[in-house]
């Protein structure tokens, strides 16, 4: 039996992304491992009305919101760390086009854990006593909000705490450093909440910077935090997190982070960005050309490169990957 779950990016989005669905990604931090390329493809295929569940904002959510593909967002952090506010997401929230329901970073991870465990609720000892509890963008008329983080009594101490609603997104597109064709994955750097998300989501697609032989997973099974049994499909796409970083593989592209966020600050800038960096490539090669050969060399020459060293001998070439992919090559 062919165990390969490798499919093309376009096929993955076409088959798994449905208008109006709860779409999760970005279970990494705002400037790191996120399946940014998956968001670009969502725009290329004009999917919309998404309910985005992003532990933290990333350039993917910033772009999807700016281009009008997202109507609702649940998020723990909505900026871009040292790169500042997320201009695309921010202006859509300010205009009222996007309803952004705020939680904290621990809350989002706990809600994913709650979904993964099929718990009825998760006890909340954070976010209570703040406007995160009292204000709801999904029920703006209700103040203080009663259904966002309702109060419950700790049955042991009698103390009043909150209850978080578990998350079970319809689909998760999870960026990983390495996957094999069956869907086992290794993440370098902090996994943030990708472990919990992979168990909470109804369907999981991996977007992998590299494809490695399954022997690699057998050598380091402790590092395989996402096993194939919960993975629907695997997409190979180098520099999938660009302009964000992927520890061990490439650094954050500072110039493009700024260029992108500046563009997303206006409708016109967003239209131009989509023209120049979303619709302007036709395959992996032309995508990499867009990033630029010299730039790729510079970004790949990372202080973290040594993190990939133990795994390099198992990395498959694009030709080997193409042979194992189902369907079209892009």
């Amino acid at each position: 039996m062919d165990q390969s779950k490798l499919i093309s990016l376009s096929e993955a989005v076409d088959r798994y992304v449905i208008d109006g669905m709860e779409y999760a990604s970005g279970a990494a931090l705002p400037i790191g491992s996120d399946a940014v390329i998956f968001g670009r493809e969502i725009l290329r295929q004009n999917k919309n009305n998404l309910h985005a569940i992003f532990h933290c904002n990333s350039q993917q959510l910033n772009l999807l919101a700016a281009a009008g593909a997202v109507k609702k967002v649940e998020c723990g952090f909505s900026g871009l760390e040292v790169f500042g506010f997320a201009n695309g997401l921010g202006r859509k929230v300010e205009s009222g086009e996007v309803a952004l329901e705020d939680y904290s970073n621990l809350a989002m991870a706990l809600r994913l854990l709650g979904g993964a465990m099929n718990w009825p609720f998760v006890p909340a000892t954070v976010n209570i006593g703040s406007d995160i509890e009292w204000r709801s963008a999904f029920s703006p008329e209700e103040y203080p909000a009663k259904h966002k983080i309702p109060s419950v009594t700790d049955p042991f101490s009698g103390r009043q705490i909150g209850a978080f609603k578990p998350l079970k997104p319809d689909l998760a597109a999870i960026h990983v450093s390495m996957a094999d064709e069956r869907g086992n994955a290794i993440m370098l750097g902090t996994e943030w909440s990708r472990f919990e998300l992979s168990r909470a989501a109804k369907k999981v697609i991996l977007i992998a910077d590299t494809i490695v032989d399954t022997d690699c997973m057998r050598q380091y099974p402790n590092l395989v935090r996402i096993p194939d049994v919960i993975v629907e499909a695997v997409v190979y796409w180098p520099f999938a997190a660009w302009p964000q970083s992927s520890p061990g593989l490439y650094d954050v592209d500072e110039a493009h982070m700024r260029l992108m966020n500046k563009a997303l600050a206006t409708e016109e800038g967003t239209t131009n960005y989509v023209r120049d960096y979303v619709n302007a490539y036709s395959d992996i090669k032309s995508y990499l050309d867009l990033i630029g050969k010299e730039n790729i060399e510079k970004l790949s020459h990372s202080e973290t490169s040594f993190l990939l060293d133990p795994f390099r001998k198992w990395i498959k070439t694009p030709e080997e990957i193409a042979k194992r992919s189902r369907g079209a090559s892009v």
Binding site: G32, N127, G129, Q160, L188, W192, S302
Partner: protein, 264 residues
Amino acid sequence: MSAHLSYTHQEMMAVVTGRELKDGELAIFGVGLSMLAGYFAQAHHAPSLRTMTEGGVYGSTPVGGLPWGIECNRISSNATSFTNAIDALGCLVASGRCDVGIIGAAEVDKYGNVNTTGIWNGEIGETYTAPKKRLTGAGGANDIASGAGRVIIMVTHELKRFSEKVSYISSPGYLEGGNARDRYGFVGGGPSAIITTLGILRPDPNTKEFELDSYYPFSSVDEIRLNTGWDLKVSPNVHVVPDPTEQELAALRKVDETGMLRKN
């Protein structure tokens, strides 16, 4: 400013914040200037400070300047452990194990409540309306404010940032003061200091209202009161904080290799 040393207000804020951290403590830093203050302390006077970031990045120090984010190569190239959010913010902070956290603020009020969610220009009202300017949200700061033993708030001292009452509490300080935090059973003790580009504010032990504790060689009580949006009380023991020493500045600038604190 001292006769022979020149430094920026932001550098002073970072040095003074760093001085709050003690050797051996378990400390968590947010991304940005608080990270520079924290790693400065470790490089200067607290070599056994146990540091972590909310991403679950342990054992590392910044390489090549202020990290752009927690997953940045500048903080991920010499780590000894990478874990995850539930571990860092949950097992180590919500549990009550973390001694001290440093967070930033767009707006802070007299009880140390922090707003990083949005600018509404005043009260939001009964209906939750969209902000005039959307900010970053709470991130991990709410978790740190609820769970860390004590919290240091680092903020640029400007009138617009110092309000009688914040429009939105993203991260709880002492709420409406006194023992209001007790209602929620927070494991963390609340903010111990608001350290600014002009001085240090500390809470009254009973009312929890923040008062002016000290100012810098280049600032004054009047200047600080003028830049504070409530009638700031001045401690009877108000005093001047000493300049950064040469050693402190050298240690800070080594961590702040790209000069983020010297830009303004």
